[in-house]
C-alpha cells in the first residue's frame, strides 16, 4: 500500500470510530465517583489480614501474587530473548577484550567523573535496596528497587572504564540472579503445598504493621522480585552496552 492508501484506510477507520468513541466517552461512569467494590474489599481487608500498609504491594505479592509470577516470567522471556538476539554469535568468551568506541575519541575520563561515578553508584544501589526493602510499608518495592539497583550498577560504568566494568559485571552472575529470583518466587509459593495449602498461601508470621518486616511471605516474594528484576535489567543493559563497542577481528555478527 502506498502512504496515501494507508492514511486513507486509517482515516476511514477513524471516521467510523470517532462517533462510537464519543458515545462511549459519554457513557463512561463519572470520573472519580463510581463504585470500586474490589478495591474497597482489599483496602478494608489487607491491613488487618496481612499487617502491611502498602495495599499495592499486598495486591501484587499476595492477593494477586500469581500475576506477579507471570510478570516475572515474562520479564525473563524478554531478557533471555534480547540476550539471544544481541549476543548472537558475538560470543561471551570474548567479553574480556577491551572495548573501543569507533570513530570517536575515547572520552577522557575526568577525575570528577570518576569521583561522581564511584560515589553515586553505591549511593544509588543503597537507595534501591532501601526502596525494595520498604515495599511493604511505603511506596516502592522489589520492582522499583531492582531497577534502581540495576541503574546504580550502570553508574559504575561511568567510573570504571569499559574493561573494568565488564570485569565486575559477569553476565552469568546476573543470569543466575535473574533465574534464582524467579525460582525463589515460585518456591516461596510452593512452600505451602506440603502443608496441603494452595500455592502462594502466606504461611509466615505477618509481623507488625508499619514495620519493614511485615507481610510474611510477601517479604520473600518482594526480595525475589528485586533479585529477578535487578538481574534482568543488568543483563539487558550489559547486552545493549556491548553493542556500542566494535567487534574484534575474531568475532562475527
Amino acid at each position: 500500500m502506498s502512504a496515501t492508501g494507508r492514511l486513507g484506510l486509517f482515516a476511514f477507520a477513524c471516521l467510523l470510530l470517532i462517533p462510537i468513541v464519543w458515545q462511549l466517552v459519554l457513557a463512561m461512569p463519572p470520573f472519580g465517583a463510581h463504585p470500586l467494590p474490589y478495591a474497597d474489599l482489599i483496602n478494608a481487608a489487607a491491613p488487618a489480614e496481612r499487617h502491611v500498609t502498602n495495599m499495592v504491594s499486598a495486591v501484587n505479592f499476595d492477593y494477586r501474587g500469581i500475576d506477579t509470577l507471570g510478570e516475572e516470567t515474562m520479564l525473563v522471556c524478554a531478557v533471555t530473548g534480547a540476550t539471544v538476539l544481541l549476543r548472537g554469535q558475538r560470543g561471551e568468551q570474548l567479553e574480556a577484550h577491551p572495548g573501543q568506541v569507533e570513530n570517536r575519541p575515547i572520552p577522557h575520563r575526568s577525575e570528577a567523573m570518576l569521583l561522581v561515578g564511584r560515589l553515586a553508584a553505591p549511593l544509588t544501589v543503597l537507595f534501591g535496596a532501601y526502596v525494595a526493602l520498604h515495599g511493604m510499608t511505603t511506596p516502592g518495592g522489589g520492582f522499583q528497587g531492582g531497577v534502581i539497583i540495576a541503574s546504580g550498577l550502570l553508574l559504575l560504568f561511568l567510573a570504571e572504564d569499559y574493561r573494568g566494568w565488564r570485569r565486575l559485571m559477569r553476565s552469568w552472575l546476573f543470569d543466575g540472579l535473574e533465574g534464582l529470583g524467579v525460582a525463589l518466587y515460585a518456591l516461596g509459593g510452593l512452600a505451602a503445598l506440603p502443608l496441603g495449602l494452595p500455592f502462594l498461601t502466606n504461611i509466615l508470621p505477618y509481623g507488625q504493621p508499619r514495620n519493614v518486616f511485615s507481610g510474611g511471605l510477601m517479604i520473600i516474594e518482594n526480595l525475589a522480585v528485586a533479585l529477578a528484576v535487578c538481574g534482568g535489567f543488568v543483563v539487558l543493559l550489559i547486552e545493549f552496552l556491548e553493542e556500542t563497542r566494535v567487534m574484534s577481528d575474531g568475532e562475527q555478527e
Binding site: F240, L241, E243, V246
Partner: protein, 86 residues
C-alpha cells in the same frame, strides 16, 4: 485536586502526541523521557505513588537510555559501512 489532574491530563495528551509526532528518533527519545515524567506526575496526582515511581525509573530513564544506546550503535554501524544519514 481536580484542576491539577485536568492540567496534567492535558499535558500528557500533548506529551504523548509529541512522542508520536517526533519523527527524528533522537528527538523522540527526549520526548519519551518527558512523556515518562509527565506520566509520573499525573500518577502522583492520581494518588498512585508506586506506579509513578516505576514510571520514572522505567519510562523516563531506563527505556530512553536503551533507545539512546540503540541509536548510538546504529550510528557506529552506519559510520563503519560508509553510509551517512540521521
Amino acid at each position: 485536586m481536580t484542576p491539577l489532574i485536568g492540567l496534567l491530563l492535558l499535558l500528557e495528551a500533548v506529551a504523548g502526541t509529541a512522542v508520536a509526532l517526533s519523527r527524528k528518533p533522537r528527538r523522540q527519545v527526549l520526548a519519551m523521557s518527558v512523556n515518562g515524567q509527565v506520566l509520573a506526575l499525573l500518577f502522583m496526582a492520581l494518588q498512585a505513588p508506586d506506579v509513578a515511581f516505576s514510571e520514572i525509573v522505567v519510562g523516563a530513564a531506563v527505556l530512553p537510555l536503551m533507545f539512546l544506546v540503540m541509536l548510538a550503535s546504529c550510528r557506529m554501524d552506519r559510520a563503519s559501512s560508509g553510509q551517512d544519514e540521521t
